[in-house]
Amino acid sequence: MPPELVATVALQGILTGLVYGLMALGLSVIFGVVRVVNFAHGEMMTIASYAAIVAFGAWNIDPLLSMVPIAMLLFALGYVMQSVLINPFINRPEHSQFILLAAVAIVMVNGLLMIFGPDARNVLVDYSLDSIEIGPLLVDKVRVITAGMAILITAALFAFFRLSHTGKAIRACADNHLGALVIGLNVKHLYALTFGIGSAIVGAAGAMMTLLIDTTPNIGPVFTLQAFVIVIVGGLGSMPGALLGGVLIGLSEAMSGLFFAPSAKTMFGVAILILVLLFRPQGLLGRRP
């Protein structure tokens, strides 16, 4: 097999994996603080994708620009969802939380089906079909841009949690819920803020995803599952873990497609998940409970 083919496929896999990682990051952030697994994660991303498609169709706005207002919109959606819907379930058994969010996911999918129909939609910008030559390698321009944006957003989020007062307060809630209450932090507000931030990240990822893949209402559950695989591999609650998990899954899919059968790509991603669950159940960068 020509080495430039292997290098090209590996690079494409890493770039795609970084965007997968960004998508999963929101799930990881929410679980890391609120301790609720968002089973409507992929569906929220699909809502963001449709928002980007509408913005492009109606006003010709590039998804790389529309992702800012879309992220804000998703922030608001996440904040309201946490405050109104999820907060009463915080202390209830996990299966109640699961049913609630699974129901929200079904409502979202069917709502999108009613509004947009089942047809696949996409965004074709001027540079959608461009490639960049790096020596003998030919790399998809859109993947390079979206992977770069994924790294930037992750770095910004990391800085927010490390450097800002609000970020530190959110981390305090995650580390010691009772302690946060004792020192007078408004935990409910911080939970809602965290859910909003997680949703904003998924909003940005959803807008960018329209440049990479076609969107249908039914793609939400597929992404929810993929986000789970990524965060469990990387470590649930770990931000760098989500990116690492994304890269690993992206790379494994690409290489298994190249060396084995392309139709077995998903199988290899799940095989990594099984190995991680067996030998490092907390995930590659997760902390032991």
């Binding site: 494409q12 129909g117 996409n122 597929v222 497609g257 790509k265």
Partner: protein, 410 residues
């Protein structure tokens, strides 16, 4: 000699006649000459096959108007049901249509759903005309009430491979190597199996250097195209659905892979409206060998006019044509049978012989298994962002353009 009818005899005769009429009334009401033919149209109009099911339904919906214009007007009622792209739902909807009085069923685009409906129709003794579905086994079960106007998968592949030779001959370009890429679902595997089994018999001039099966849910085909490109093959032979066909061409453009010929041996994707809308100029010059409407048939022109009036901006394609023809077969049989009875209608369908119709091929007629034996594929080439017949020459709409111009030269 004349006999006088007594009052007593008249009363007895009247009573006997009334009793006879009463006894046979249900049959007479349902099956009398001039009765209404109830056609149950059953298609996936929601779920992942919705687009294609809706296209089929359009062909059914405009059929009564067009048939009336052609002088084939009959008293018919269309009853429609949605399979939701689900085999179990298809079965229960077929039962409901029959219980609600459907005299004949038409559907169902998908082989799995069609097979389920066929079982119900056979059990209830109601004729079922399959408009679109290729799995060969449906008409190999010995069913008496099941008929198919669409070719089987081996017929599709056989026609497709034959037409390939025609394309090479006409263009003067004969590729020596090819990559075969197919979606890894029931349809893709059936096509792959048929090609593998039948290709040696057709003595094709090229060697298949790589076969690549991909996930039907694939969101990205970059690896698959990189692998195909690395073979240096001169032809790509894809078996796709719609979304993966879009992904495939998009990735070919990105990776600047420009084989001389891209020709589907008989699969959807390249000739669909969404494909043209999404890919624009990059949709051009791709070839598909597929059963298609005969653009030179006067009936096609009538149907096309009516379709364009009724569904502005929508593409008139094979699903519409085959669905219209299914209604045409039902009405033609009903007119000859002069009955809505299941057996009478099935017998009449078996005797069908329609010379002038919509789809390409010979006289529309069924063999003893209920399969239309004369339906033929054509070679379509995407030109000016729409599918045009380029082969066979006697019904062609445009000239074959090969080799494909490079992506950057469009």
């Amino acid at each position: 000699m004349t006999r006088k009818l007594t009052r007593r005899q008249f009363a007895a005769g009247t009573a006997a006649s009334a009793a006879l009429l009463a006894g046979s009334a249900p049959f007479n009401i349902v099956r009398a000459q001039g009765a209404k033919l109830k056609i149950g149209s059953i298609h996936p109009r929601s779920g992942f096959q919705a687009q294609l099911g809706i296209a089929c339904q359009r062909g059914i919906d405009i059929a009564p108007r067009v048939l009336k214009m052609m002088g084939m007007g009959a008293d018919i009622e269309i009853m429609s049901a949605d399979t939701e792209s689900n085999v179990d739902v298809a079965r229960s909807r077929a039962e409901k249509l029959i219980n609600d009085g459907a005299n004949v069923l038409i559907g169902a685009f998908d082989s799995g759903q069609s097979a389920a409906i066929a079982q119900v129709a056979e059990q209830k003794g109601v004729p079922y005309i399959i408009n679109v579905a290729a799995a060969p086994q449906i008409t190999e079960q010995g069913y008496k009430f099941v008929f198919r106007n669409f070719p089987t998968a081996p017929m599709l592949v056989g026609d497709g491979l034959n037409l390939m030779k025609g394309v090479f001959e006409k263009s003067g370009i004969t590729p020596k190597t090819a990559v075969f890429m197919h979606v890894n679902d029931t349809f893709g595997q059936a096509m792959a199996g048929a090609i593998k089994a039948m290709a040696p018999r057709f003595n094709l001039p090229f060697q298949i250097v790589e076969t690549i099966a991909y996930d039907p849910q694939a969101k990205d085909l970059s690896v698959e195209i990189a692998k195909a490109k690395a073979t240096g093959a001169e032809m790509l032979m894809p078996v796709t659905r719609l979304n993966d066909a879009i992904l495939m061409v998009r990735e070919m453009v990105k990776q600047r892979w420009e084989p001389k010929i891209v020709m589907s041996p008989g699969a959807p994707g390249f000739y669909e409206n969404q494909f043209y809308k999404t890919l624009g100029k990059f949709s051009n010059y791709l070839l598909t060998n597929v059963p298609w409407y005969n653009p030179r048939s006067p009936i096609t022109q009538k149907l096309l006019d009516e379709f364009t009036k009724s569904y502005k901006g929508e593409l008139f394609e094979l699903n519409v044509g085959f669905s219209f023809e299914a209604v045409m077969i039902a009405v033609d049989s009903f007119t000859r049978a002069k009955s809505t009875g299941g057996k009478e209608l099935a017998d009449a369908i078996r005797q069908t012989r329609i010379e002038n119709h919509v789809m390409a091929g010979g006289v529309l007629q069924f063999n003893e298994k209920g399969q239309n034996v004369n339906v033929k594929s054509v070679t379509l080439q995407n030109l000016d962002q729409r599918p045009k017949v380029v082969l066979p020459l006697d019904i062609s709409e445009d000239n074959l353009t090969l080799p494909m111009p490079g992506w950057s030269k469009r």
